[in-house]
């Protein structure tokens, strides 16, 4: 059974069809890459998977459960975490507090008015663990907005991982990173590979082809090619397109 599955997803914004009958099935523990030119509908597809956009037709299943049309927070609570193309963090909070917000234990206390959030050793320990996993242990008390670009990307992933997700959706995680940053991120994601299901939109073909088990190519709102990195390198459509130059 697939961990996350999209069947016949169709999205229309007014007169414009953005996604047309998109199918995707990602097995548990698989790293599935999504590539395609700008404006192809990749981020919209991510928004459908995570509940931000409701599909006009089609269905989304998470671990076999139909989650089509559920709100963002309900899908997130069921185990779908994501990072954003434009980084979205709680800028005034420290790195540690950002990670703490992602913890399911903290979320379970989201309506608790009677106790102090401060001084909870369990939260603090788990936040420290999360930061250490992405190499930010030394920057726990630094405000998110004061971190470097690369550190903020790593913090986004730490926040997503703190959710203990079943599916991690990464939207252009290497965007804006220098070569060192890409290397660090590649190493980080490689460590996660196989431990959880990952779906990643990416323009960096080296990143994607070195990590992905399978890749789907979206163009004009449709999946035009799908396969392992090796299969895609042989795919005629990909070879003829700009994408083929990098693959």
């Amino acid at each position: 059974m697939s961990m996350i599955e999209a069947t016949g997803v169709h999205v229309r914004f007014g007169d414009r069809v953005v996604l047309e009958s998109v199918d995707l099935a990602v097995a548990e523990g698989e790293f599935h890459g999504v590539m395609g030119p700008n404006g192809a509908g990749k981020t919209t597809f991510f928004n459908v998977l995570t509940g931000r956009v409701k599909p006009s037709r089609g269905a989304i299943r998470l671990g076999g459960e139909d989650v089509t049309g559920l709100s963002v927070h309900r899908i997130a609570a069921k185990g779908v975490a994501r990072s954003f193309q434009i980084m979205t963090l709680f800028d005034e909070f420290s790195a540690s507090d950002n990670v703490m917000m992602g913890l399911p234990e903290f979320r379970a206390r989201g309506l608790d008015l009677a106790h102090a959030a401060a001084g909870n050793r369990q939260f603090a320990a788990k936040a420290s663990e999360g930061l250490a996993a992405v190499g930010l242990a030394e920057k726990a008390d630094v405000r998110a907005k004061d971190l470097s670009y690369g550190d903020r990307r790593a913090l986004e992933i730490a926040v997503a991982l703190a959710q203990e997700p079943r599916v991690l959706c990464l939207d252009e995680p290497t965007s804006g990173l220098g070569s060192d940053g890409v290397q660090r991120l590649t190493a980080l994601v490689a460590r996660l590979k196989g431990k959880l299901t990952i779906v990643a939109i990416e323009h960096d073909m080296e990143f994607l082809f070195s990590l992905a088990d399978r890749i789907s190519v979206i163009h004009w709102g449709q999946v035009v090619a799908r396969g392992t990195p090796h299969e895609l390198q042989q795919n005629e459509w990909v070879r003829r397109s700009n994408l083929g130059r990098f693959a």
């Binding site: 992602g102 979320r107 959030a117």
Partner: protein
């Protein structure tokens, strides 16, 4: 500080050293206020408006939601207190609870309609609902006394069963309000620093991120608005006791604007104490400058404009920077950022 990190020692406390100092200073007010040319009733007003402004700042400062019709809930609390003692039971505790519940329910009703919005749309809808409540208060002559207000509200005794305190004297009433204020401030401090308060502060910074972490953004925005309205209504009940009446004026748009001015001038966007500072400054300016010129609001208005333009961290922000050696630039940046989130629609 509202956005103090969770490892800040004060964030874990129910009563902080700053609160103790404030309460001790306030406890001495009746002893010296007349000697400086002021009067005990001003102290009562400052405490009640401070509680109201702190409640208002749950929405403006903590949640980053621009509510410009909050006077409605203060007024509903005042009317509910009076109507409860006239028509239900003349018991202080029940009538104060009625004030909080009535305003909280009105706030919850409004929250149902506005909590999917933020920024300028949210602001306009709060104004619209505030105007509706204000109009209802003026037009419902039989219930509210219309423009004349609900008169002859009594200061009911504080009855604890084994002992009862008469609150008719302004000094006695001042100490009663001070105790209520102390409890209220500890409760609001805890709320702001609770997991719930942290989620509200997170939602202020990014609704999208909060939703993707599994938090029900709508529910949190609706509940903080209703809570803020309930505490505002409770303060309104105290105000009805103070004034011995309830008037529609406090529900009007310009009076709703006062609490916004108080909060922003004081530094509510960056400091828990900002609204208290703003209320103190506003009401003393009203009396001190107001004794010299009727145009006192002109000067306060200019101060408000200067703060919004050049000192978004407000007075409490500047003081906090000096006391805690925070960077004033960082606080100013936070104030600016909060202003942008308030009126720019946020993320």
């Amino acid at each position: 500080m509202i956005a103090a990190p969770t490892n800040s020692p004060d964030a874990a406390r129910l009563v902080t050293p700053a609160m103790l100092v404030l309460w001790l200073v306030l406890a001495t007010v009746p002893l010296w206020i007349a000697r400086v040319g002021l009067y005990p009733y001003l102290g009562i007003e400052i405490l009640i408006w401070s509680l109201y402004a702190l409640a208002f700042n749950l929405v403006l400062g903590t949640a980053g939601l621009p509510s410009f019709g909050h006077g409605a809930y203060f007024g509903i609390g005042a009317y509910a207190f009076g109507l409860c003692q006239f028509d239900v039971v003349a018991n202080l505790w029940i009538c104060l609870a009625a004030a909080a519940v009535a305003a909280g329910l009105a706030g919850a009703l409004v929250a149902l309609f506005i909590s999917h919005r933020r920024g300028i749309y949210y602001a306009f809808m709060t104004i619209a609902f505030g105007q509706i409540f204000w109009t209802l208060a003026i037009k419902s002559h039989r219930l509210t006394g219309g423009e004349d207000g609900l008169l002859k509200i009594r200061r009911l005794p504080a009855d604890f069963g084994f002992v009862s305190f008469d609150l008719n004297d302004n000094v006695a009433f001042y100490y009663f309000v001070l105790i209520v204020f102390a409890i209220g401030i500890a409760g609001l401090w805890r709320l702001v620093h609770s997991p719930y308060g942290r989620v509200i502060a997170a939602i202020r910074q990014s609704e999208i991120r909060a939703a993707h972490l599994g938090y029900n953004v709508w529910l949190h925005k609706a509940s903080i608005f209703a809570l803020s309205a309930a505490v505002s209504g409770f303060a309104g009940g105290l105000f009805a006791m103070a004034q011995l009446a309830a008037f529609p004026d406090v529900m009007s748009l310009h009076q709703s604007g006062y609490v916004v001015m108080m909060t922003l001038v004081g530094g509510g966007l960056v400091s828990f104490w900002g609204p208290v500072v703003g209320v103190f400054l506003f009401l003393t300016a009203r009396d001190v400058i107001g004794a010299l010129t009727n145009a006192w609001m002109l000067y306060f208005g200019l101060l408000f404009m200067a703060i919004v333009l050049f000192r978004p961290e407000g007075i409490a922000g500047a003081v906090s920077a000096a006391l805690h050696q925070h960077s004033l630039g960082a606080l100013r940046e936070r104030g600016n950022s909060a202003m942008r989130l308030l009126f720019g629609g946020g993320r």
